[in-house]
């Protein structure tokens, strides 16, 4: 515990964050600009789906991030419960709304894509249902985190929930293989290599990287603001204590 404190001191963390943040932000803007340009202009329309295939460049990275962020939260939760380091709690707390946002984006863009493809805004197939469950898991995680007078207890309870809810992640991943779903199976993350044409794969991958960088930027900013808030609380308390 004390060893951890020495290594991961909040001030040192803040300093490091301030150094890294401009670089990551710059990379995010660049990759996002490149990715968007490629997905809108250089990549070809699909021979079946036409222009609406471009929704993919937002939809697929969002869905990746929905699972990636949840997995990060689950890992942070394990760290929080075993080593009890506050940074793990902060990371989980800061990640949850971002992950919920990505999940919502995946569901919304999926719905927009589904309307022209399947003729319905929503179908109850395994992939969609399990992602919807993921969205509710995020909401439950956030609600539980803020449900207690004592923040520490909220953090730990949410950590247990995050770990329990992790069983959903493999279900989402493999739902398209295990069940006959309307949703198409994976075409990038496959054991035998991607089955999608490079002209579409490249913009998709760049968008994937851009989304990941975006997550890191927002995560760092959110952790930073939490730390600053904690400092404020402490100064306020010191004032009260002096008056005591």
């Amino acid at each position: 515990m004390s060893v951890f404190h020495r290594f991961a001191n909040p001030n040192r963390f803040l300093k490091l964050t301030n150094q890294v943040l401009p670089w990551v932000s710059g990379l995010t803007v660049l990759s996002l600009a490149a990715g968007l340009y490629m997905s809108f202009f250089t990549s070809p329309p699909d021979y079946q789906q036409g222009e609406s295939v471009r929704i993919m460049y937002i939809h697929v990275p969002s869905a990746w991030m929905a699972m990636f962020v949840y997995t990060s939260i689950a890992i942070a939760s394990v760290c929080s419960l075993i080593w009890r380091h506050p940074l793990a709690d902060l990371a989980a707390k800061a990640s949850a709304p971002i992950g919920a946002g990505f999940t919502f984006l995946a569901l919304a863009t999926g719905s927009l894509w589904g309307k022209p493809m399947w003729g319905a805004w929503w179908v109850w197939d395994a992939r969609l249902t399990s992602v919807l469950i993921l969205f509710f898991l995020y909401l439950g995680h956030m609600a539980l985190m803020h449900a207690f007078e004592e923040q520490e207890r909220g953090n730990k309870a949410a950590a247990v929930l995050a770990i329990v809810g992790f069983v959903n992640i493999p279900i989402i991943k493999f739902s398209v293989d295990w069940w006959n779903t309307l949703h198409q199976p994976a075409s990038v993350m496959r054991a035998d290599g991607p089955s999608i044409d490079p002209s579409m794969l490249w913009p998709l991958l760049i968008m994937g990287v851009a989304f990941k960088l975006f997550y890191i930027v927002v995560l760092l900013i959110r952790i930073k603001s939490e730390l600053i808030e904690a400092k404020l609380r402490k100064y306020r308390r010191a004032v009260v204590d002096k008056a005591h």
């Binding site: 419960l81 249902t129 469950i133 509710f136 898991l137 909401l139 439950g140 609600a143 539980l144 449900a147 207690f148 007078e149 207890r153 730990k156 309870a157 247990v160 929930l161 770990i163 329990v164 809810g165 069983v167 279900i171």
Partner: protein, 228 residues
């Protein structure tokens, strides 16, 4: 094992001394299910077709209603602290309390289910599968629900929070519970009933095994946190 039975018998004892608790869930189950014929009309074929879904959804809500009580009394009167300090392993204690909860909530629901199935005009094959599915599925409802019940101890608005945490996790049980009965009802030959329902029942069994594994660990961790 002795500690397990001790806790089960104590919780049953407590439940039988407070009979209203015992009947609440099952009464809710029957009354809510009875509302549907009024809302949808008494057409027998329609009722038979939607019966599996209605029975499962109402059973799920009945279990949900009973979850808050599962650990709350022990938490409030200090019994939970004593339980943690006692030599009984907390994981075993969680399992015992969940088992007692199932005996007083899940089991009565299973016993009442054939009654509702009759009112909804279900045939006997489907009813058999319904019972098997409920025997496999209701323990999972208690187990998964217990995690939410332990996590929300001491929370503001714990009662509102439990449905938010638990309902998403109940969806797989609901899907395969209804799926098993639907498969049975859709099979044309008499011999194919079990075979058609089998994959769904196996998945219900898998959910039960996974929750049997996760609940004691997560529940015990949450209980320890709740008194800290």
């Amino acid at each position: 094992m002795k500690a397990f039975l001790n806790i089960v018998s104590r919780d049953l004892h407590l439940a039988f001394r407070q009979k209203s608790d015992l009947t609440m869930a099952v009464l809710f189950f029957i009354l809510t299910a009875m509302l549907f014929p009024f809302g949808l009309g008494p057409e027998p074929n329609l009722l038979a077709r939607i019966a599996p879904g209605i029975i499962w959804v109402t059973a799920l809500l009945a279990v949900l209603l009973s979850l808050e009580r599962l650990f709350l009394a022990d938490y409030e009167d200090g019994s939970l602290e004593q339980l943690i300090l006692s030599s009984t392993s907390l994981e075993v204690a969680v399992l015992a309390k969940v088992f007692a909860h199932w005996l007083t909530t899940g089991l009565p629901l299973i016993l009442a289910a054939p009654l509702i199935a009759l009112l909804f005009n279900m045939d006997s094959d489907a009813m058999t599968i319904l019972l098997i599915a409920m025997i496999l599925g209701t323990p999972s409802l208690s187990l998964i629900g217990a995690i939410a019940a332990t996590l929300t101890l001491g929370a503001r608005r714990g009662g509102v929070l439990i449905p938010l945490l638990v309902l998403p996790l109940y969806i797989p049980t609901l899907i395969f519970g209804v799926g098993a009965i639907d498969a049975a009802m859709n099979s044309l030959e008499a011999g194919a009933v079990i075979a058609n329902a089998r994959p769904h029942l196996l998945l219900l069994g898998a959910i039960l095994l996974v929750s049997l594994l996760i609940t004691p660990l997560a529940g015990a961790a949450a209980l320890r946190q709740s008194v800290e």
